[in-house]
Each structure stands twice: as structure tokens, then as C-alpha cells.
Assembly symmetry: C6
Homo-oligomer: 90 residues x 6
């Protein structure tokens, strides 16, 4: 059973986007660019609410990258993630 | 053996679409957009019935995302999923 | 070792196509559409016999979806699968 | 460690192509079509010798399908595989 | 649980890029070319800061390759990795 | 933890390219063709030095195939691999 490692920086980063309702952009491997707010995540999928609050359940294997839409807004969520990440390699 | 984790939000979301016979759209990694009602799911595939009730057995690895076709209709199924999801991170 | 879970609805569905020699269409992630009858399956591949009975060994990871070619013909095989599938979530 | 299941029909089919030096065609997910004779296989790759006997080491994850080039030639190798395959589901 | 093998040459190479704040180019499977500095990495994702210091969380499965942007700058980080790599096969 | 099976023919083939500094071509799933000499390999990546000796760290999942550039040069490395491969199926 694939366990959901909630302590990973990448999982915590997305959790931060959920908590802050950050407007994000998600580039898919089909090259489509989705914009919305992350509603929930699990080990296989991420649920995005689009601009009309409709849910899109996206498979992680189809995602190339995710980033704060304006680039600025999400930084607080990003900062909190980075503090733990460096330790893994000490 | 890959176990089918029926408790996951993403699996329950699709189970909700099955129970409510929600009309859904499924974007594939080939960019094809399929429309239909989910008939069944297992850990490898999702079966969609198209508008003439013919079965299409789709591999999960080929799916980019799934969403209620009208965006509205499926929301009840969506709401019930979201209530559990938040707890995972408390 | 990846075990071949012969009890899964998706595996049984394909086994139904084999038993009924259903004419199927298989969409690949390359967008190619193959037509033929399923000869055998294992956990990595599905063997399709084309219209001149020549074998094509297709990797599951390359398949987007499979469906009965005429949509009609394969329904008996489909019906038998669906009866078990619903139980998983009771 | 991913074990190489040499008993699988798909692995035995390719082993048959090796033993019979069958001229095969291999469609890749890039849509490229390679023609040659299979030299060896392991759980990650298949080595094909092209028409000038030069080795091409192809990752299995990049292969869509493999088939005897003329369709005819490889059938003996195919036949021997099919006899075992059916039992798995009895 | 997929363990993060921090001792691997590929992981250490990226850790070297982080420590040296190397300007890198990352080619994605969508063919997009991202340029920036690696902020952190875990077993699923790599976080790149773009030229306006905005974070892009990129899934490893979407990356084709990564290389020092100028080719030169990152070489010290590269050299330290190569010394351990050869031993694996002695 | 994915173990690096250094005894596999495909891994030994690449190790042969490293030892002989064979000029190789690597076709990626993006269709890009990289040319260079393999510097090191691990279970996730292969490092290629391009014609200006700059390192490109390429993910295995993005590689379609690898072959000696001139076809000729690498054959000694290829020959030594093939001798063990056949035994697996005896």
C-alpha cells in the first residue's frame, strides 16, 4: 500500500496552498495550464476548484508542476516548507 | 500486490460519481476528452459508459483529470468527500 | 514481484473479451487505434490478434483505453463483470 | 527488487523471438518504429540489433508494442506462448 | 513507503546544485525548458526558484534532464559526485 | 527502497559504455537526441557529458533508447554483456 508521506516538503507545500487558499497554476503533461485553488490532496490525486468553484480531480502522474499564480501570494506557504527541507541532508 | 485503498478521497470521489450517476468529463494524456458516466473502478482502471451506454475501460495511468460535466451536478458527491480529507493533516 | 490480480474487474473484463472473441478497439497513448481480438493477457502486456491474425504484444502502460469495437457485441462480457464490482464498496 | 518473471507470456513471447531470430517491429511511445532482431531482454530493457547488427538498448517503459515484422515468420514462437496463457484463468 | 536515498549520485548532484546555488536548466517531458536555482528536493518533487524567486514545484516524473545553465558554473558540484559513483561497480 | 541491480544486462551494458568512454546517442521520450559519453549511472538517472564535457543528468524514465553513436565503436562493450544474458532462460 502506497503510504501518504505527509511530512514530505512537496506534500507540505501543497498543504500550505490549501490552508492559504493560494491561487495556483498547474501545468499538466498535456501542456494544459489549469488555474484554481487546491481543495484537497491524497497520494494519487489533487483536487482543484476552478474559478466557478467546480472540482477537477487531477492525477499526480499527469502534473508537470504547480506554482503560486501570481508568484507572490503563496510565498508564506513556501517559506514554512523550506525551513525543514535543508535538514534532511545535514 | 497493489491494494485498492477505497478510503482515499480520490477513490471516494469517483465512487460518489458512480452512486449519483454523475455525467463526467475525463481528459486523457492523449488530450482526448471523454464524456460519460462512471460504471465501476478498480486500482488499475475506470469503466465509463458513453452516451450509447457502451463501456470504455480506461487505464488510470492514461487519465489527466476527471470532473463533473456541468460542474454543478456532481457537487453533492464532491462535498461528502471533502469533509474527511482535511483530517489527514490535523 | 507484481502479482497478477485475476479477480480485478478490469482483468476479468479483458478475460471476457478473450472468451467471447470480442472485436475490440484499443487506443494507445501514441493516439494510434488498434483493432483486433484479445488473445492473452498478463500483468505487463495484452496480446491482440489483428485482422490477419498476426500477434501484436502491447504493453499495458501504453494503453489509454479498450472498448468493444461495435460497442454492442461485447456487452455480455461487460455485464458479468459489473455484478461483482459494486460489492467492493459495500 | 523488481524480480524478472521469466514465466510470463509476454517475457516468453520475446524469448521466442530471440530463439527464432524473428525480425520484429517495435513501436515506441515517441511513435518511432524500430525494426530488428531481439538480442536480449531484462526487466528494464530489450536489446535490438538493427539491420547493420548495431545494438539499440530500449527501455520497456518506452515501448508501445512489438510484433513480428512480416506478421507470419514469428507465429511459431507465438503459438508456443499461447498454450500456457489460457490456464492462468482456469 | 518510497525511501529518499540521499546517497545516490543523482540526489547528491542536485544537492550540490542547491549548495552552490547553481543556475540550472530543466527540460520537462512537455519539452518546456525551465531555468532557475534549485531550492529543495524530496523523493517526488524538486522546487526551483525562477528569476523572480518564485517557487515552481516540479514533479520528478515530469523531468527529462537537468544541467548547469552555463555548463561551466556547476562543475565543482559535479566533480564531487563523480568520485563516489565509480565505486558502486568495483 | 529500489535496489540498483548492477548485475542486469542493461546496467552492465551502460557500465561498458562508461569503461570504454563510448560515444553514445540517447533518444528521449521528447524525441530529443542527445550525444555524449556516459559519466555515471544510478537507479534513477544517467549522467552524460556532452561534447563540451558539460554534465547532463537524465532521468531513466525519460529515455527511450541508448546506442553506440557510430554503431561500431561500442560493440566490444556490447559483446561482453550478451554472453551472460542468455543463461537467465536456461
Amino acid at each position: 500500500m502506497t503510504e501518504f508521506q505527509t511530512g514530505l516538503p512537496s506534500v507540505r507545500q501543497i498543504q500550505g496552498f490549501i490552508k492559504e487558499a493560494t491561487l495556483v497554476q498547474m501545468r499538466l503533461l498535456t501542456n494544459e495550464l489549469l488555474t484554481g485553488r487546491v481543495r484537497w490532496q491524497d497520494q494519487h490525486c489533487i483536487c482543484l476548484l476552478d474559478d466557478t468553484d467546480n472540482p477537477i480531480v487531477i492525477w499526480r502522474h499527469a502534473i508537470a508542476y504547480i506554482k503560486p499564480e501570481s508568484g507572490g501570494g503563496g510565498n508564506r506557504a513556501v517559506a514554512s516548507v523550506e525551513s525543514q527541507t535543508v535538514n534532511i541532508f545535514q
